[in-house]
């Protein structure tokens, strides 16, 4: 891990000194134990702030569209040139970035994707669950193990594998394929069994599935954190905020919350890269993963499409085949 951190800093410094970039988006040390957070670097001297550890969970692609928003210049003035942005990208971040490139939110030629080998990120909520409600007061990581001490003084030693994010355990693309600069190192091996969460959920009875869906969605407080952290949710006006037509009202009826979540997941069809940023951002701990993964699985199985690669390929819902599946069509 430390070797990678040094290489990231060196790469960043070189990019700035060679004047190849204006901004670099990476991770820096957070203000709480076991937290890393996004940082925007604009100067070679700040590159020492960059870190790389098992807590660099944020999907940095979410910051890209705002740098490339078209700006209307004043009359007679030339619009300012678009910035050149470098991003420290794990496998999931890179796929989000390519997704944004495909949807023309971000110009590929202005991006430098620095692919970092990812061994999986630690899920802090799993750590807290092991502490049974206690919060993490201090902790350290070494040699594939994590040691944490809660505020009550209780100490636990755990293997890193036990507390990885579900998204990392089931990750099929840990290696960044389209990196402009690839930092050397070992990545996780891709998961062999894909869509485990969705598959095991499908095996439950419909009544059980509905009960679980209602139970999870009833926790929602409509804060829209899931939408804001998602790199794909860049619409200027989200469907929940439209008043003409009014798709969803602001109330806390369970039915309204369900329509919001069904709508949001459906809008991610063929676009969601399963980075789970939404799951981590949710303040009330809704199991969004069980729902987003199903649509990703269907898109793969029905249309043989996985988002995040080859920006020139049409997204699945903008394309068709004459022999698409239609076993669901009712024949009277």
């Amino acid at each position: 891990m430390e070797g990678i951190e040094t290489k990231i800093r060196e790469t960043a410094k070189a990019l700035f000194s060679e004047k190849k970039i204006d901004i670099l988006i990476g991770h820096e040390k957070g203000s709480l134990v076991f937290h890393s957070r996004p940082v925007m670097i604009r100067d070679a001297n700040d590159t020492e702030r960059l870190v790389w550890n098992s807590f660099c969970t944020n999907n940095l692609a979410v910051y890209l569209p705002r740098f490339f928003e078209p700006k209307k210049p004043k009359k007679g003035e030339v619009p300012p040139p678009l910035p050149r942005v470098a991003v420290i990208a794990k496998g999931c971040d890179a796929r989000s970035i390519i997704g944004l490139v495909r949807e023309r939110q971000v110009p590929r030629q202005n991006l430098i994707i620095i692919g970092v080998p990812c061994e999986g990120m630690i899920d802090k909520s799993k750590l807290e669950k092991l502490l049974e409600g206690d919060f993490i007061a201090s902790g350290s990581i070494k040699d594939g193990g994590t040691s944490i001490t809660g505020f009550s003084g209780k100490r636990l030693d755990i293997k890193k594998e036990q507390v990885l994010l579900d998204a990392c355990i089931e990750c099929a693309f840990p290696v960044v394929e389209d990196a402009d600069i690839a930092i050397a190192g070992t990545s996780r091996k891709p998961a062999t069994e894909k869509y485990k969460t969705a598959k095991s959920f499908s095996e439950k009875s419909p009544a059980e599935r509905w009960r679980y869906f209602a139970q999870e969605i009833s926790k929602c407080i409509r804060c829209y954190a899931c939408r804001q952290v998602c790199p794909n949710c860049y619409c200027k006006e989200c469907f929940v905020e439209q008043t003409n037509p009014r798709w969803v009202s602001a109330g806390d009826d369970l039915s309204e919350k369900m329509v919001f979540h069904i709508g949001r997941v459906f809008h991610q069809a063929g676009r969601c890269v399963e980075c789970d940023a939404c799951v981590r951002a949710c303040p009330v701990g809704i199991d969004i993963r069980t729902f987003t993964q199903k649509v990703a699985q269907d898109v793969k199985e029905m249309f043989d499409y996985c988002p995040g690669f080859s920006p020139e390929v049409s997204p699945p819902l903008c394309a068709y085949r004459l022999d698409d599946r239609q076993e669901f069509i009712t024949e009277p």
């Binding site: 203000s31 829209y224 109330g251 806390d252 303040p283 009330v284 701990g285």
Partner: protein, 344 residues
Amino acid sequence: MKQGILTLSELTKFIELLKTSYKVFAPVKKEEGVFFEEVNSADDIALGYYNSKLPPKRLFLPQCEVLCTFENGQLVEIPIADEKCAIFGMRPCDALALSRIDMVFDKEDLKDPYYLARRKNTVLLSLVCDKPLDTCFCTSVGGGPSSGDGSDIRMVHLGNRLLLEALTEKGESLISSAKQFLKKPKQSDLEEKEKIVAESEKKVPRIKVDGIKENLEKGFNLPLWSAIAERCLGCGVCTYLCPTCYCFDITDEVKGEKGKRIRTWDSCQYPLFTLHASGHNPRPSKTERMRQRIMHKFFYAVENFGRTFCVGCGRCVRSCPVNLDLRESIELITGNKACVSTRK
């Protein structure tokens, strides 16, 4: 009767007594964290909790509240809550936050009947903090682990018993009604309480807020605001989890001839919050919105109400998906580069 000792073995009966006259809410441990919910018995209560995930303000200012119902163009009902409730075990910071919101919803000339009815019908039993977290900073913003502002009864957990102290008339009458379960506190109980409170106050991390109001007054156009807000995603979690945030939106929900007018939580961090019908937005980017949040809490509120509208509960710090730390922002503004002091 102003004080009493309740042994934890009697807690079940105490809760049962409360339930005869009140709906009792207490911290309940769930998989995702601790939440304030209605409890049926003392067994459901997580007495040794740190703080709840969502602030208990939602019991007074619900996430969605019906203001009135109408049918065929006629007003049908204005539902004002009249259920008596007891909140058992709220933390002093959250109780202090309620007294802050009282200043907004209970003015001389403007009173909010929905919120005030709930406040009137609720008795608050707050629980003194004996184990602050590293994200707490109540002592720096006018609060403290044993602050009594906003609560009717203050409870201190002393080993196998709770010391109850009435702070208001409502609290006094509740304690008197439960006197069959309460013993007179001994001098040693009171001394133990003082010890716990003093230790707790030492443990709460402090941040440097001196001069924040003046610096904010002068600092509206400082370039540091864009640095502070740069990684903000505008997700609104900070405002939803903040016990003193109270902004709301009012909308109508109509189906055919029937409808209701509802009030829901809103957040100044959303771009739609200040979007004008003309399309102009006076707070067009996250920079302006983040600046507004900090200004509101630490400057405008002090000007308008004489109090900081932050109680140092630390929920925004803990739950921000990008670890935007309010404490760091404050210290940037007050010009102090020193790190947040840690627990001893």
